[in-house]
C-alpha cells in the first residue's frame, strides 16, 4: 500500500525579485513500511522535499499525498493537523525543548496531539525498549549525550504513531558509534514495528541502512522513479 505519493512536485521560493526553483517536478512513491533514504548534495532540494512532506511549507505545484491526503489542497491549519497526527520529525540538531525533561519532551508531543494522560500503546513501549532511554527519561537535554538526545527525539517523533517518520540528517551531529546506533534503531523501528521512514542524508553510509536510496540533484530525482 502506498504511504507517500508525489507527482510533478515543484517548489519555487521567491527571494526579492528572484525566483529560486528548489524542486523541479519530483515523482516519488513510498510504500507503507518502507525505509527510504533521499541522498543528494547541498542545494539538491532534499531539505525542501522534507519540509513539504512534513507540512512545514506548501508546494508550488504538483501533488503530494500522505495516506491519501493531498497536502497541496491543505490550509495552514490542516497542515498543522497533519504534523500533529501523520508525520513525525527527527532533526539533525535534535531540537528537544531544553527546559523539559526527556519524558516531558515526549509527553508534550502527546499533549499537542490530544493524547496527554492516555497510557502509551504497547508498540510505543516496545519502541522505548528498542531506544533504551528509560533510565534517562528524567534528565533534561543538557544532561544527555548527543546519541541519547537523538533517541529521545526519535521517541518523541513516533509517540503518536505517525504514518511517516521524517528524519533530516539524523546522524549529522553524531560520532560514528552513535550514528550507527541511531541508524540501527531506525532500521529496527522500521523492520519490527513497520514504521515508514524517509531519511534525508548526504552520507552514503547512512543511506545504506535504508531499503531504498533515492538520489536527488538540482531539484530532481535522478534515479528512475519506482513504478506508479
Amino acid at each position: 500500500m502506498t504511504e507517500v505519493e508525489i507527482h510533478g512536485l515543484t517548489k519555487v521560493y521567491h527571494t526579492g525579485d528572484v525566483d529560486v526553483q528548489a524542486l523541479r517536478g519530483i515523482d516519488l512513491l513510498v510504500e507503507r513500511g518502507e525505509f527510504v533514504a533521499v541522498v543528494g548534495p547541498s542545494g539538491s532540494g532534499k531539505s525542501t522535499l522534507f519540509h513539504i512532506l512534513g507540512g512545514l511549507t506548501p508546494p508550488t505545484a504538483g501533488t503530494v499525498a500522505i495516506e491519501g491526503q493531498d497536502l497541496t489542497k491543505m490550509s495552514d491549519a490542516q497542515r498543522t493537523a497533519l504534523r500533529k497526527n501523520k508525520v513525525g520529525f527527527v532533526f539533525q540538531k535534535y531540537n528537544l525543548l531544553p527546559t523539559l525533561t526527556a519524558a516531558d519532551n515526549i509527553e508534550i508531543a502527546r499533549d499537542i496531539a490530544g493524547n496527554r494522560g492516555r497510557p502509551p500503546d504497547a508498540q510505543f513501549e516496545e519502541a522505548l525498549k528498542l531506544l533504551d532511554i528509560q533510565a534517562r527519561l528524567n534528565h533534561k537535554p543538557r544532561a544527555l549525550s548527543g546519541g541519547e538526545q537523538q533517541r529521545v527525539a526519535i521517541a518523541r517523533a513516533i509517540v503518536n504513531r505517525p504514518a511517516l517518520l521524517l528524519a533530516d540528517e539524523p546522524t549529522g551531529n553524531l560520532d560514528t558509534r552513535n550514528s550507527d546506533a541511531v541508524l540501527t534503531l531506525l532500521r529496527h523501528l522500521n523492520k519490527r514495528l513497520g514504521q515508514t521512514i524517509l531519511m534525508i542524508t548526504h552520507n552514503p553510509e547512512a543511506a545504506a541502512f535504508a531499503d531504498r536510496i533515492v538520489h536527488m540533484r538540482d531539484g530532481r530525482v535522478v534515479d528512475p522513479p519506482p513504478e506508479a
Binding site: T80, F89, P98, I112
Partner: protein, 347 residues
C-alpha cells in the same frame, strides 16, 4: 537564568509601585504619629485653614482665651512655617510645648538659648547629618542647639517669638493645642468652644489623626496618583519588554512546537500560562524586595519612611500580570504565526 531574570524584572516593577505607594503612606503615617505625639486632646485652627495642612494663621491671644475654658488643663500655640518643599519649622513656646507633650527627650544638646537656635528630631538630624552645634541653612541660618527624640508634632522647632519675628508673623500662630483634665470632656469642651469661636476648626485629636490619608492632604492625592501611575507605567514597560525579549529568545522552541503540530492557539496558550506563573513569581519577589527598599530608605532617606502596603499587593499583582500578558501576547502571536522553518533555523 532567563526565567530568573524575567522574574526579577517583573519584581522590580512591582517593587517600584509598592515602594512609591509605601512612601506616600509612610509619610502620612509619620505625620499622624507626630500629631498624636503632641499629647493634646483638641486642636483649634483658623477658619481658612486646612485641617492637616496647618495653613492659615490666627492671633496668639486665642491661647489665653481658650485656656480659661472649663476642663482645659494646658494650652499652647504653635506656628507652622514652611521653609522648603515638605520642610516646616514649627514655632513653639518650649515650656508649654514640653508640658503638653509630656517632655522632650534630648539626645544631644539642650533647649533654645538664642533666637537662631533650632531643635531637630533624630530623623531630621540623621537625614541631614546634623549634630548639636552645627549650622543649617533653611532660608535662614539656624544653629542646631539640640537633637530630640522623634514623634512630637514636627521635625524642626524654633522659639515661637523668634520665628514670628523672622517671618513677619508677630503675634500669629497656626494651631492651638489643648490638653484637657479628662479626655471624657472632649465633646463638652468642643461644643463650648464651637459656640465661642464660630467658624474656627475645633477638632478632637482622634479625628485629626484619622484625617491623615492621601485623600485629605492637599496636592498629595494627585501627586501620589501621578507618581504611582508613572511607576505603574514604567513597571508595565519593564515587565512587557522583559517578556517580549523572553519570547523572542524562545523562537526556536516555538518552531519545534510548530513542527510537532502545535497550533498558534496552543503556543500562545502555553506562553500565556508560563507568563502568568512568571508574573506571580515576580510579584512575590517584588513584594519581598519592598522590605529591602524599606530598610534602604530608612538608612539613606530616613525622613521618608516607607510603609508596607498589603492593600496595594492586588494592584501591583494586576499590573504585573497584565503587563506580562500584554508583553507576551504580541511576540507570542508573532512567533506562533511565523514560518516554522525560519523559527527552527533561529539561533
Amino acid at each position: 537564568m532567563r526565567t530568573l531574570l524575567s522574574v526579577v524584572a517583573i519584581g522590580v516593577g512591582v517593587t517600584m509601585i509598592l515602594t512609591l505607594a509605601g512612601v506616600s503612606r509612610g509619610m502620612l503615617n509619620g505625620m499622624a504619629e507626630r500629631s498624636r505625639g503632641t499629647g493634646a486632646d483638641i486642636m483649634i485652627q483658623p477658619p481658612d485653614s486646612s485641617v492637616i495642612g496647618f495653613t492659615g494663621t490666627m492671633s496668639e491671644k486665642f491661647v489665653d482665651l481658650v485656656r480659661k475654658q472649663d476642663h482645659v488643663a494646658l494650652a499652647t500655640g504653635t506656628l507652622m512655617q514652611p521653609v522648603h518643599f515638605l520642610d516646616y519649622v514649627t514655632g513653639i513656646h518650649l515650656d508649654e510645648f514640653s508640658a503638653i507633650t509630656g517632655g522632650l527627650h534630648y539626645l544631644e544638646g539642650g533647649p533654645f538659648r538664642d533666637p537662631s537656635d533650632l531643635l531637630v528630631d533624630e530623623i531630621y538630624a540623621r537625614a541631614h547629618n546634623l549634630h548639636a552645634g552645627d549650622m543649617v541653612d533653611m532660608g535662614h541660618k539656624w544653629r542646631v542647639c539640640g537633637v530630640i527624640e522623634q514623634g512630637k508634632l514636627s521635625r524642626a522647632f524654633a522659639d515661637l517669638g523668634s520665628l514670628q519675628d523672622l517671618f513677619s508673623s508677630t503675634g500669629k500662630i497656626s494651631v492651638v493645642w489643648l490638653k484637657l483634665d479628662d479626655p471624657a470632656n472632649i465633646p463638652t469642651v468642643k461644643a463650648a468652644l464651637e459656640q465661642k469661636l464660630e467658624g474656627y476648626k475645633i477638632v478632637p485629636m482622634d479625628e485629626v489623626v484619622s484625617l491623615f490619608s492621601v485623600d485629605n492632604v492637599p496636592y498629595l492625592k494627585p501627586f501620589t496618583r501621578v507618581v504611582i501611575a508613572l511607576a505603574a507605567f514604567f513597571g508595565f514597560l519593564m515587565v512587557s519588554l522583559s517578556m517580549y525579549t523572553a519570547v523572542l529568545e524562545r523562537t526556536r522552541e516555538i518552531g519545534i512546537l510548530k513542527a510537532l503540530g502545535a497550533s498558534p492557539g496552543y503556543i500562545v496558550g502555553l506562553l500565556l500560562r508560563e507568563t502568568v506563573v512568571l508574573a506571580v513569581a515576580g510579584t512575590v519577589v517584588g513584594i519581598a524586595m519592598t522590605y529591602g527598599t524599606r530598610e534602604i530608605m530608612a538608612v539613606f532617606v530616613p525622613n521618608m519612611p516607607q510603609a508596607i502596603v498589603p492593600d496595594w499587593y492586588p494592584v501591583a499583582a494586576a499590573i504585573a500580570v497584565g503587563g506580562s500578558l500584554i508583553g507576551a501576547v504580541y511576540p507570542g502571536l508573532k512567533a506562533a504565526n511565523q514560518d516554522a522553518i525560519e523559527a527552527l533555523a533561529y539561533d
